[in-house]
C-alpha cells in the first residue's frame, strides 16, 4: 500500500500549506507531480486521497496527478535524453548518465475557492 503512505504525506503537507497561507475556503484541487520511477498508480492515489482527505478541509477536492517521465543527463557529453527505459548509458557516447527527472514527488499547488 505504497500509495497510501505517499497520499497521507500529501494530505498532511497540503493542510499545513493551507494553514500557513491562512486559506480557509473549500479546496477544489491538489496538484502533484510524481516521477514514473516511483511506481505510483494515479488511480490508486486518487482513491486513497478521497478516503484520507475525508473529514478535512480537503474533503471533496480532486487529486490531480501528473506523471513525470524519465530524463537523464550524460555526465560526460552533458546531453539530456528522454528515457523510454531506465538504461543509464548515454545513447550518444555510451558513458554513464544521471537521472535528473523521474524520481520526484512534488506537491505543486492547491486550488482554493474564495
Amino acid at each position: 500500500m505504497h500509495e497510501g503512505a505517499i497520499v497521507q504525506a500529501i494530505v498532511d503537507a497540503s493542510l499545513a500549506a493551507l494553514r500557513t497561507n491562512g486559506a480557509t475556503g473549500k479546496v477544489k484541487e491538489v496538484r502533484v507531480l510524481v516521477g514514473v520511477c516511483q511506481g505510483l498508480v494515479p488511480d490508486a492515489m486518487e482513491m486513497f486521497f478521497e478516503m484520507q482527505s475525508a473529514d478535512t478541509q480537503l474533503a471533496g477536492a480532486k487529486l490531480a496527478v501528473e506523471l513525470q517521465s524519465m530524463v537523464a543527463r550524460c555526465a560526460t557529453c552533458r546531453h539530456d535524453f528522454d528515457l523510454p527505459e531506465p538504461i543509464m548509458f548515454c545513447p550518444q557516447c555510451g558513458r554513464p548518465m544521471e537521472m535528473i527527472k523521474g524520481k520526484e514527488v512534488l506537491l505543486q499547488a492547491i486550488e482554493v475557492e474564495e
Partner: protein, 222 residues
Amino acid sequence: MTTIVVAKDPRSENQQIADGIRADLARRAILAVNLISSPGSGKTTLLERALPLLAKDLRLAVIEADAATRNDADRLEKLGIAVEAICTGVTSCHIAQPSARKAFDNLPLDRLDLVVIENVGNLVCPAEEDLGEDAKIAVLSVAEGEDKPLKYPLLFQEATLAVVNKIDATIALGADVDLMERNIRAVNPRIEILRLSARTGAGVPLFVDWIKDRLRRKRGEQ
C-alpha cells in the same frame, strides 16, 4: 479561485528525520546499511550467514521489519544478535522514518559499530525511503528473472551494492546471471555487484569484507 503554490516534496519532514539519524550515526562513526529486496530473495538467510562472521570483529545490531510477524527477528535472535523488531502492519509496505527513528533510539548506539536494517520484502516502496543509512543494498536472487532491474529500476539506482543471491541454483533454474548483472549495471553503471549463495555460504565472505571496508572508509582508516 486562489492558487497556493507549494512546490515542495510532501515528505520533507521525513527527510529531516533521516538527516537526524544520519548525523547521530556519523557522530558515533556507526555504519548503517539498509537491505532491500522482494520477499523470498534470501535477506534473512544472508544475515544468518554473514552476521556471525561480522560479530567476531564488530558490535552490531539489526533493525528487522516485517509486515505481519516476528519470524525473521526470531531467526536472528537465535544467533545471539540484538534485534529491534518493527512490525509495519500489512497496510504498510516499508519502514518509514518515524519508526526507524524509534528503532534507532532503542538501540545502544554508544556501544555499536554496525546497524543492519532488514527492510520489508518489497522491490518498490522501501527503495525511495532514506532512513539515514550509509548504503542501500539490493538483494536479488537468480530465481527472480533477469529483467527485474529494468522493471524496478529505482531500487537498483538507489543501491550502492547489489547482491545476486542463490547462485547455487543457477543451473537448475536456467538463470542467466551475466544478463542479470548487465541489467543491474544498465540502470546504475556505478553500482557494485557481488554474487553469492547465502544457503551454501559461497561468496558470503566477500559480502562481509564489503561491509567491513565501508566501515573502515567511514572511519577514515584507509
